[in-house]
């Protein structure tokens, strides 16, 4: 402290005195630090351009040099981009050095250890979270958009539930495709950590994941949290505030008169008699006249405007870190507050505590602890739990323009006219404002570790972690009634108020220990061996309680209910026991070899089929280090190759057991009697899925790291895939078993390019990556899995679409009579399907396999420009070669009493508009012939999006002195503001297999904030 004060005085003196010292040569002092973590850069060279003077920085990164105004200071250090600064009035400089992205010392987390990036033999993508700093990322999964080889799909931005789906190198299985996620070496959940506390993320994409054996087949995401550094205490605080809006919403016909006329026309078009339409001419006239005088009975509104508003997002993050030779520490506090775009029932909060401490107890013993405490809450509408938000959107997508929000006396309105199919008027405002649905999840990951150096350079490391999750949800389904705005007649929406509690109580234990031995022999042979053992136990417990019989909507506790109590719950245990080892050998850093083996035993399989072993081998060749290779230009040239076998055990528990399940109850004498039945046909012989992966790659660095490129070519073959297969229902109507049914290939390549340079004070960096993956089912044992509109079949990608081939629109009856047609209800203006097998009928045999549920290309590119303290960063991201199949409410017209979108006004077929884009206007329910799965409704879901645009200003050093801050940045962000896609009815980044618009919309965010370091 004394030192600090002294320095402050010194600094102050300098500031005060500097105007007096206006000599030709002034004494310039400063401090050079690393832009990544603000650590001081020692031994950096500080020289004056075109002059001989020079100095180097001390251990604190400080320097002092005499220089004249107008001269240029050149600051350089190995692994950093060189900085040039023109000497001005300021005599005290804070200089930030940007590390060269692929600098030679960069270390990458690879699972049970780290490796130098240049020595990697596998394919590992890394993300430095500094690149995402200050962006409005609410879930760490969103930060992975644009990482090479990853398909990140965030279906909607539900506050509190906005984790993205991540697929690494395609879709390898028909089963669970989620990658394994580890935080500081412990399996954990992406939802339960504040992105602000993450230092870096490594993604193991190939055989390198074999160290995680049976959980590695879908790739492994290794998250490393921020830790303290040997430095003076540092406080970092950041804040951002954003406004959010939906990117896309269906373009609905809100004009009530037009809506009613279209509905009637649709019914007539599909064969209904004019007298039997939904709205009589008299009713339409009544509405038309009424609109002018009574907005309560005859509203003319945009319902989306009634239930949507601007969302708000704010995040605070406070971090204290520092350390000495003995102890380093890091304490972080995070807070997120998000209020979504619905007027109610979509609020999320997250409170995070992150503590890291490490102590060198003796020279040989190091111990540490790491605690991540995450508490998050979010609200949802009360109806339709557990997926209440999606349920709400099924209701909102059904709202009709003639629905009344509120009656004249302020009660919830229904609708002046009855609409067939719409018996229960789900007033969308009411569904948000009444009742409650709160979720609270508290999750703590506590890890302790010790590392002891044994004789012979052996290092023993033991880690024990407890991951405890307490999830609680409570939803009260209220008593709600709507009233006819004209007659006041009530319409019961729900007259049985009920309360529900759900509690999840999960505990995951991880214990792993490793022995590590590293030795360098004759200065050239480097050997590193790790052997380890691990134990994972997952206990999942939950229960749910339900009760009815509430007086009103005020008391909502379970205790306030009185009738029809019901409970359910379960508890399961799942154990994984493993042994693993890794050997790394390198000769002169030129020839690199790595071998991994892991043996896993899992309780998910029958005895005798529990153990599997997963080996991998990889090698690298640093050509640039060869004597024969001399190039001033090429600073890195490395060839890599890897092979490995990985596993996947993610089948539901007890899939191997044939079980008799309870719950098939029946009533005798008006009393419920418990019943039991076999529900599922199980296969006791199931075992691991195995993924064999090959990877070949080349890494190139040019001009001392200014240009970096890498290319990877890979093939992944997953065999013995576990999937529930459909079996003929004649076999007891049972659902099919999970079976090891076949194999799937993913082949592809990844290219990543980065270039960074500076022109004077203007610095720029451009990065681009593209990955291609071709998915193909190789073998399904001759079986074919056919769903409603998808198929998984040998020779085709997983979940390809299986639909009729639409051949346009029938123009007249004669054309219908002359071709095979689906049914005798087909009329002119209906869709025509190809009779591919020429049997004169349109049957299931006429379907074709087309389209894809997996994008062929994932790509991204980014630009970073900076000039002095000003930085502009733009990140683009896109997918190409994916299909979407939107159906049901608002995706097809008048579905089951729902409304219609505007394209049907102008683009539907009529005899006068024979070349229309859409068939004749009908209801979906009444003209099923037009809404059979067909190529007509299959849409291209490719898109390119400006994911993030950030303008940041780092306040100049001289201003910082006055507030004794090391660094202050202010920034503005725009997220998801521009999307280019042929698909315009909804955000194309949607739930791929959901096939509806029943999703919380994807949001765009405009935010601003500040980031301060003291």
């Amino acid at each position: 402290m004394v030192y600090k004060c002294n320095k402050r005085v010194y600094v102050l003196l300098l500031i005060v005195l500097s105007p007096l010292l206006s000599l030709a040569q002034q004494r310039i002092t400063g401090r050079v630090f690393n832009s990544t973590d603000h650590a001081p850069v020692k031994n950096a060279t500080v020289s004056i351009k075109n002059a001989v003077q020079g100095t180097t920085t001390n251990d604190q990164g400080e320097f002092s040099i005499a220089a004249g105004k107008g001269q240029t200071l050149v600051i350089s250090s190995v692994g950093y981009l060189t900085e040039e600064i023109i000497v001005g009035a300021a005599s005290l400089l804070n200089i930030e050095l940007k590390s060269v992205e692929d600098n030679l010392n960069a270390v990458v987390v690879v699972g049970y250890g780290t490796q130098k990036k240049v020595n990697l033999t596998g394919s590992v993508a890394t993300l430095n979270m500094r690149d995402k700093e200050n962006t409005p990322v609410t879930n760490v999964s969103q930060a992975l958009h644009g990482v090479s080889g990853l398909w990140v799909n965030q279906a909607g931005s539900k506050p509190g539930q906005d984790v993205a789906n991540i697929r690494i190198r395609g879709v390898g299985t028909l089963n669970n495709n989620d990658p394994l996620v580890l935080v500081d070496g412990i399996e954990y959940n992406l939802n339960e950590i504040d992105p602000n506390f993450i230092e870096s993320i490594s993604v193991l994409k190939d055989a390198a994941a074999a160290i995680y054996g049976s959980r590695g087949a879908n790739g492994v995401i290794l998250i490393t949290t921020k830790t303290g550094k040997k430095q003076k205490p540092e406080i970092n605080y950041s804040y951002s505030y954003g406004i959010q809006k939906a990117t896309y919403l269906p373009d609905v016909v809100w004009d009530p008169i037009l809506y009613m006329q279209m509905k009637d026309q649709a019914l007539i078009n599909e064969g209904k008699a004019p007298g039997a339409v939904d709205y009589s001419p008299a009713q339409i006239d009544e509405y038309k006249n009424g609109m002018a005088t009574d907005p309560y009975i005859y509203p003319n509104i945009n319902w989306f405007d009634q239930v949507l508003k601007n969302g708000m997002l704010q995040q605070h993050s406070l971090r204290l870190s520092g350390g000495s030779d003995k102890v380093v520490y890091n304490i972080g506090l995070g807070y997120m507050d998000q209020d979504g775009i619905l007027i109610a029932a979509n609020h999320a909060n997250r409170y995070t505590l992150n503590v890291n401490v490490q102590a060198n107890v003796t020279d040989k013993l190091k111990v540490g602890a790491n605690i991540i405490g995450n508490y998050r809450t979010y609200t949802e509408p009360p109806f339709g739990a557990p997926s209440a938000t999606n349920y709400y959107f099924t209701r909102l997508m059904r709202v009709l323009p003639i629905f009344t929000p509120y009656t004249a006396d302020g009660r919830y309105g229904s609708s002046v006219f009855t609409t067939p199919g719409r018996n229960t008027i789900e007033n969308p405002i009411m569904l948000l404002k009444e009742g409650s649905n709160e979720h609270r999840t508290e999750r703590t990951l506590a890890k302790v570790f010790a590392e002891y150096t044994l004789p012979f350079n052996l290092v023993y490391n033991v880690n024990f972690a407890v991951d405890k999750e307490d999830g609680f949800a409570k939803w009260f389904v209220p008593y709600v009634v709507t009233y006819n705005p004209k007659t006041g007649v009530p319409n019961n929406y729900n007259i049985i108020p009920a309360s529900n509690n759900y509690d999840a109580n999960n505990l995951n234990l991880t214990l792993y220990q490793t022995l590590n031995w590293t030795k360098t022999i004759a200065d050239k042979h480097r050997v590193s061996v790790i052997a380890g053992q691990s134990y994972n136990r997952y206990d999942v417990n939950n229960f749910q309680a339900h009760i009815e019989g509430y007086f009103d909507n005020t008391l909502t506790d379970l205790n306030a209910g009185s009738v029809n109590p019901a409970v359910s719950g379960s508890s399961t245990r799942d154990v994984l026991l493993s042994y693993f080892g890794r050997l790394n050998y390198s000769f002169d850093d030129k020839y690199l070899l790595e071998g991994i083996v892991r043996a896993d035993g899992s309780s998910r399989f029958a005895p005798g089929r529990r153990w599997g072993s997963f080996p991998s081998l990889s090698a690298g060749w640093r050509i640039d280090r060869e004597d024969f290779f001399h190039s001033g230009t090429i600073s890195l040239l490395k060839l890599r190759a890897s092979w490995g076998k990985l596993g996947n055990q993610a089948v539901p528990l007890y899939s191997y057991l044939n079980t008799v399940n309870l719950g098939y109850d029946y009533t005798f004498n008006n009393a419920v009697v418990p019943g039991a039945a076999v529900a599922k046909y199980n296969d006791p012989t199931i075992t691991w899925e195995k993924t064999t992966t090959w990877n070949g790659g080349v890494d190139i660095g040019l001009w001392n790291g200014k240009l970096n490129a890498s290319l990877d070519v890979f093939q992944k073959r997953t065999s013995d895939i576990l999937r529930t297969v459909a079996i003929p229902q004649q076999v007891g109507g049972l659902s099919g078993p999970a079976k090891n049914v076949g194999s799937v290939d993913n082949k592809g390549y990844e290219i990543a390019l980065g270039y960074q340079d500076a022109v004077g004070k203007f610095k720029y960096a451009v990065n681009a990556q593209v990955s291609y993956v071709k998915n193909k089912v190789i073998n399904l044992n001759g079986e074919t899995i056919i769903g409603t509109r998808r198929i998984t079949k040998e020779g085709y990608p997983i979940d390809a679409y299986y639909v009729y081939q639409a051949e346009g629109i029938y123009q007249d009856q004669q054309e219908i009579d002359n071709s095979a047609h689906l049914s005798n209800a087909v009329k002119p203006g209906y869709l025509k399907y190809a009779d591919l097998n020429k049997d004169g009928k349109i049957t299931g045999d006429d379907r074709i396999i087309t389209g894809s549920s997996i994008p062929k290309y994932n790509y991204g590119f980014s630009f970073n420009f900076s000039y002095e303290g000003l930085t502009l960063n733009a990140v683009f991201q896109g997918v190409q070669g994916i299909s979407l199949y939107p159906t049901a409410n608002l995706a097809s017209p008048f579905n089951n009493g729902a409304g219609v979108t505007k394209n049907w006004v102008t683009d539907s077929w009529t005899p006068d508009n024979p070349n229309a884009k859409l068939p004749v206007l009908t209801t979906t329910t009444g003209a099923t012939e037009n809404f059979q799965p067909s190529t007509f409704w299959l849409k291209d879901g490719s898109y390119l999006r400006l994911k993030d645009l950030q303008l940041k200003y780092d306040l100049p050093a001289k201003w910082l002195q006055r507030v004794t801050a090391k660094k202050i940045s202010v920034f503005v962000n725009a997220n998801n503001i521009l999307t280019i896609s042929k698909f315009k009815d909804f955000d194309p980044e949607k739930d791929i297999t959901g096939d509806t618009y029943y999703e919380y919309p994807t949001l765009k965010t405009y935010s601003f904030g500040a980031n301060v370091t003291f």
Partner: protein, 523 residues
């Protein structure tokens, strides 16, 4: 070092560590060991009755009349409107459209029931338990298996006949057996069951299959065999067999405790469940195991009666409107067969305390349904508006049906003898017609028409008429029509392809996974 040791300890017990067992279900190997478990297994066989493809779901049985001239479903619930339009296909039965559809769910759910019965019958023998009870329970399972197979053969024709516990390898690719083979097995199961089942149960077991139930379902199966659809040569012997089967039940009515319930309206109310008229019913109970009858009848109106059904109701003197002096065209709903008022809500009727009109509250056709609903003229604030909140049992077979089956078969077998008149008069007397006696001296053909009409009225909107118009082969006439609402406005035109629509298609999803399943003609 201590840590190291503790870890070694964990490794030591690793073998046991990987043995985890489910705590919410039994493993099949050890399940069939106690009487209690066997009883629960049999309950599971009954539970399939509540599936949507059988007699459960929301209101499958009420929607079935929407595939007949009795009713109209604007919402295509369970796909019955597609069947009414004659636009059902093997695909829209199961894939792609809004609703999974009865054509796919009936197949699935009947086989679910069959599979559970087969499992029960295969596994129960070694279970240590009371032998008499075991024998009875096996008879119950056979009854249920016969009932499930009868539904399959009556709608799809021949289906794979599987009598062993579910086994994918041996059963998955079996082709369809002939309908005759299936019928033969159904009759065998029902006879086996009838030989063992009690005529009555103690109160705790009310709802289980009885001897009478097995015999009555057998009569229904035989009547279907004797009917024109399946008896193309009009083999009188088939009618005789059918008549005899129904007569067994009628002759034992006293012994079995069967009779007509005095009040037609309240027969369909929860208070009178398991009455003397109920031969076999599907039991519902709220809140756990309800149906949606009240919701469908009152609110959804997806079984909206059609003008055609209203016109079918005679006047209360038993004469058709055109012949009766009681008919007044300005008051068309006055003085009709009392069963109409107990079945249907019509414009001008009072319903839940309010007078109805042609568009309110029943906008679809102007008519609503009272039968199987608790709602009637009286005001009621408990307006059920959620699914599965009603508990009225559904009568799969009731004594009036047995009487009508007998009358029909006997008239075909022997002509309109006194026993035919007696059976009909009982029903018409209970209905409150005045005079209720069937006019004397009807020819066999006149009696046939009379019985068919009586059947339509007595069983209106209970889900039997679709089967009737198919087995009579009259669907090709009565379904190729335009349907009308209460104001005689056309709603739409239906069609029925006589070469195709008498049988349902085999769902495409099933032919996808079992290519050995042949399709029915012209699908």
């Amino acid at each position: 070092m201590l840590v190291f040791l503790s870890i070694l300890t964990i490794c030591g017990c690793s073998k046991n560590e990987l043995d985890t067992q489910p705590l919410d279900r039994y493993t099949e190997e050890t399940y069939w060991t106690t009487e209690k478990n066997a009883t629960a297994g049999l309950t599971g066989c009954y539970a399939a009755l509540r599936n949507a493809g059988v007699y459960g779901g929301n209101a499958t049985v009420l929607w079935e009349d929407a595939a007949t001239p009795n009713a109209y479903d604007y919402g295509n619930s369970n796909g019955f409107s597609l069947i009414a339009l004659g636009t059902q296909t093997a695909d829209n039965a199961g894939t792609g459209t809004i609703d999974a559809g009865i054509i796919s769910t009936r197949w699935r759910d009947c086989y679910a029931g069959i599979g559970r019965c087969n499992t029960f019958l295969a596994k129960v023998d070694p279970v240590p338990m009371d032998d008499a009870l075991k024998t009875r329970m096996k008879a119950e399972a056979k009854f249920l298996r016969g009932l499930y197979y009868s539904l399959l053969e009556m709608y799809y024709g021949g289906v794979p006949l599987i009598l062993d516990a579910p086994d994918l390898q041996s059963q998955g690719q079996l082709p369809r057996n002939s309908r005759a083979e299936v019928v033969q097995q159904v009759l065998k199961d029902l006879e086996d069951a009838a030989a063992v089942l009690p005529t009555k149960y103690g109160s705790a077991d009310k709802g289980r299959a009885t001897k009478g139930a097995a015999l009555a379902v057998k009569a229904r199966v035989l009547l279907f065999e004797a009917s024109p659809l399946n008896n193309t040569t009009n083999d009188v012997n088939k009618w005789k067999v059918a008549a005899a089967a129904a007569k067994v039940v009628i002759d034992s009515a006293t012994a079995f405790g069967y009779g007509l319930f005095p009040n037609y309206r309240s027969l369909f109310l929860p208070a009178n469940e398991n009455s003397q008229e109920s031969v076999f019913d599907v039991e519902f109970k709220i809140p756990e195991l309800g149906n949606s009858f009240d919701l469908i009848d009152r609110q959804y109106n997806t079984n909206a009666p059609l003008r055609d059904l209203i016109d079918a109701y005679n006047m209360k003197d038993g004469l058709p409107p055109a012949q009766s002096p009681l008919y007044d065209a300005t008051k068309p709903y006055d003085n009709r067969d009392p069963r109409m008022y107990q079945t249907i809500v019509y414009p001008g009727d009072t319903y839940i305390g309010a007078v109805t009109t042609a568009t309110s509250p029943f906008k679809i056709t102007g008519y609503g349904v009272k039968k199987y609903s608790i709602y009637d003229k009286e005001a009621n604030s408990n307006l059920i508006n959620q699914g599965f909140k009603s508990e009225t049992n559904y009568m799969v077979i009731r004594y009036a049906d047995v009487l009508l089956m007998y009358a029909e078969a006997q008239n075909e077998a022997q002509g309109p003898d006194a026993s035919v008149y007696n059976a009909l008069n009982l029903i018409r007397q209970r209905a409150g017609l005045n005079p209720y006696l069937v006019p004397a001296g009807l020819s066999q053909s006149q009696m046939r028409d009379f019985i068919r009409h009586e059947r339509r009225i007595e069983l209106a909107l209970e889900g039997f008429y679709y089967l009737d118009i198919r087995r009579w082969k009259t669907a090709e006439q009565v379904m190729n029509v335009t349907i009308y609402n209460s104001q005689n406005q056309a709603i739409l035109t239906r069609s029925f392809n006589r070469d195709r629509d008498y049988w349902w298609p085999i769902p495409q999803t099933q032919r996808d996974v079992n290519p050995n399943l042949d399709q029915n003609p012209n699908y």
